[in-house]
């Protein structure tokens, strides 16, 4: 189920159009992300038709990110080196007008991450994806960030974008039982933002696809191990017919 208060209805056809553009254009998403989620994030991007790159060294991160279609900054397991890479990625995003998605993992537990998030949120047109605790911790900062796209994922994913509001009611509780899936969903949002300038719509397409793949995987799995495997398989084989059936 998808609702919108904006001008574009998020139906299976619209989602298919965004996903098709990803598989045609194969955008590279440069991910500065935590070492726990790097592998599953890269595999989800590949299953989605996008290409991951994950350089972190401050001496190369700008060169590698320069050719990417979008940038993801995820604050989980941030290192000193990753911390020094952040301003370089912000500069690439600013100079090239490249979409940048922030995933503020556990920001509510760490003053360091809160300080880094403050710096990152100064970027115009930023997209932020977190769970309820993380978005709550950033609420006052985000209120002072005009033009941001705010995505709060949970049982219902809520997307607040300049172009309108979407709610996505797909997914499955198993998705909270595999590490890094929230992180991976932020990367899929970034992949869609690389090919769709309406970031609310881009996020809606990414999260609808991810949630529907999760529903399919949940029907096939016997636990979190097989769920993760079926999720990748389902994401790689999503087509318009499946989206039509699931989005009603």
């Amino acid at each position: 189920m998808s609702l919108t208060v904006g001008s574009v209805r998020l139906d299976a056809k619209t989602v298919t159009r965004v996903l098709s553009r990803v598989t045609e254009l194969r955008p590279r998403v440069h991910c500065l992300t935590n070492t726990v989620a790097q592998n599953v994030t890269a595999n989800m991007l590949l299953a989605f038709g996008a290409i991951p790159s994950m350089a972190v060294h401050p001496d190369e991160v700008a060169a590698v990110a320069a050719g990417a279609g979008a940038i993801l900054i995820n604050l989980g397991t941030i290192s000193s080196e990753g911390e020094r890479a952040i301003p370089k990625l912000l500069e690439v995003a600013r100079a090239q007008g490249k979409p940048l998605v922030l995933d503020p993992v556990f920001v509510e537990l760490s003053p360091l991450r809160m300080r880094l998030a403050e710096d990152i949120l100064r970027l115009p047109g930023i997209v932020v994806r977190g769970n309820a605790s993380e978005m709550q911790a950033l609420a006052s900062l985000l209120a002072a960030t005009p033009g941001a796209t705010r995505i709060t994922t949970g049982v219902i994913d809520r997307i607040e974008a300049p172009s309108g509001m979407f709610e996505i009611a797909h997914g499955h509780p198993w998705m909270t039982k595999v590490t890094g899936l929230g992180c991976a969903s932020s990367a899929l949002v970034a992949a869609c933002c690389a090919v769709e300038p309406d970031f609310g719509l881009a996020a809606g397409a990414a999260l609808s696809a991810f949630g529907i793949a999760g529903e399919i995987a949940a029907e096939r799995c016997h636990g979190p191990g097989s769920f993760a495997m079926h999720l990748l398989d389902a994401l790689a084989s999503l087509d318009e017919a499946t989206l039509l059936t699931r989005m009603g």
Copy 2:
């Protein structure tokens, strides 16, 4: 098969009681662990009902670990940054009386890890889990560490705790064919120590559960790839009936 020379018998009922407390209290285990095993460790903790956190930056590691129920320090792929995080984690454990588990990966190969292990073993009430080579390398240090719980895993897991001695004869040779499973078992021990003050009993419950999940997975798998998947599935669905059947 489980034997004990201590006062508490390690039967299915006792193991179930410890595991149930994990799924009810959902302790967070803060893991400073190697980058090879981070993902499988986080997934095993989630399948077990616990919650992983893995911050490593010296400027945030104390803040993130402060709210955890237990701490794991694993010396595999230790970085300079991880090295600087260790004293901060020891301070949190000492100040809050929090359980701390050391996993001395390949300590016999590295003078650096031996030196770090020496520092860590000064913590009162520490729990150490390693294989025979690792525990042998630490033997003289451990002999001078009163109150430590020593766990040597292998075909038979041997637990020497202040409260008594346990031997666990569960598991399967496939468990040595998937990277990071020893590391993950140390994290499960930490999760049980967060909810059970008798660390020998806690370790016995964690290793019995893990070993039995390994036996079930071995019966279902066709190689190390499917073994890893079935292990996660089996761990997530362990119940008292299964433990009763397997523990005889």
Copy 3:
């Protein structure tokens, strides 16, 4: 299908002989590799019968690598710390005459990686494995590197070794849809170089085995998630009969 212009024919019997030596001698491969591919690389080495070690700290990397049978340096997600570990690994390789495999991930995107590759390629007898873009970026450097073994993987894997040339036509397109499989193949090449002094033959055996395991996995899978699982299972159970059937 395997062709050779050198003196040794790469048939199932030859490949089996190299693989058997790996499972008998169980060489340890010390991998300085990217954090995205560490886990799958370690699991592939274990499935192959070899043993992974992955220390990176400059204060221990030489001690840990000293007992290994071969060394892998992979430039993906290189850190400052990894950068400082490289000269120490080169020194171990040089002093002990140990095989060293370079995997120049995305070298064409990063001046830093190009500079590091230049340093590494000064090692006599080095083995380099990359895709077409990476090997093209290194072409002029490699032309000035006598005695190097050059491996360009793709639909057809091309091995140019001092002892002759091999072409391997095994594998499956799914192999490009799972992150880290190219990286893992470099580690398998290193494992074979640890037991077979003809590095062209060693690389041919490793890539034939890996490609054939990929073909088997592709026949069993339903997408990239199940492909990765079946690939590990197939690699762990490869035997001479299977190689004979597949190598014609």
